[in-house]
Symmetry: C2
Subunit: 157 residues, 2 copies
């Protein structure tokens, strides 16, 4: 059995991880004086299992409402807000359309194509020299992952 269904085991394992992670985040929420509701649990789960790392409030709403139709949009905003304050997610304003959220441990910056709208993730280290220079010259500490760089992607030159 073990050798016959490794993928299945793997999925179980991932599922287990997700639930554990969900609980950890909810605990964080509770230890901050917050309360745990089914809505919040679903929102956190949606964040952890999102196909894309960049989800809009609308994306989260769709995922959550698939299972819990009466979780209201404003609840999603409020919960995402709480999660951001707790440092669980980052909210990034990509400039066009709504903001996107992603987990802080998916640390990266964003390149947004002003033509086709494509979002490219780039690792932090590309920005390190810039961050260093800004800190040294201006005393300005860049907030990690809070901003997007606009330009033209490879395909849209």
């Amino acid at each position: 059995m073990g050798a016959m269904a490794p993928v299945h085991h793997h999925e179980q394992h991932e599922h287990h991880d997700v639930e554990e992670h969900v609980s950890a985040i909810l605990d964080l929420l509770r230890s901050d004086g917050g309360r745990i509701t089914t809505g919040r649990r679903a929102i956190v789960r949606a964040l952890l299992t999102a196909a894309d790392h960049h989800v809009t409030a609308e994306d989260v709403t769709a995922a959550v409402q698939a299972e819990h139709p009466d979780v209201h949009l404003s609840t999603i905003y409020r919960t995402l807000d709480s999660l951001e304050r707790l440092g669980v997610v980052n909210r990034v304003n990509l400039g066009h359309g709504g903001a996107v959220y992603h987990l802080v441990d998916h640390a990266h910056h964003h390149l947004v194509c002003e033509r086709c709208g494509a979002v490219t993730e780039v690792p932090d280290d590309v920005f390190d020299p810039l961050a260093g220079a800004l800190a040294a010259r201006y005393g300005f500490v860049v907030s990690p992952h809070r901003f997007a760089v606009t330009g033209r992607c490879r395909d849209c030159q």
Copy 2:
């Protein structure tokens, strides 16, 4: 006389420059098939004489309406839009509140403090290494001055 009122002369000179600059931009607008109206002239003048380099559509509206009260907000948006297409101004989304516009020849990037909202201008060259790295690694060409970097300014650490 010349030695007695240099400032006055200087102001006259600046004023002359501004009107010349206004005309140059309006000519650009016309040569693109556009038309010149008192509203547009006032909008361009407002841009050129703005105290701050970063003006919101509201700022422009206030300045324009001081002299021409019936120039409508939507006209300002439309004109700023045209000017951006012509490459006269850049529109920058600072993330909070409205977008700001500035002349392209005031080339700079923006550091926005997420705490106090202060905007620091930084010269292009600080970003050159980053822009080079993004172009080399991702084929991504950064749009000059279209984005803002979020973080904490020196006073808000």
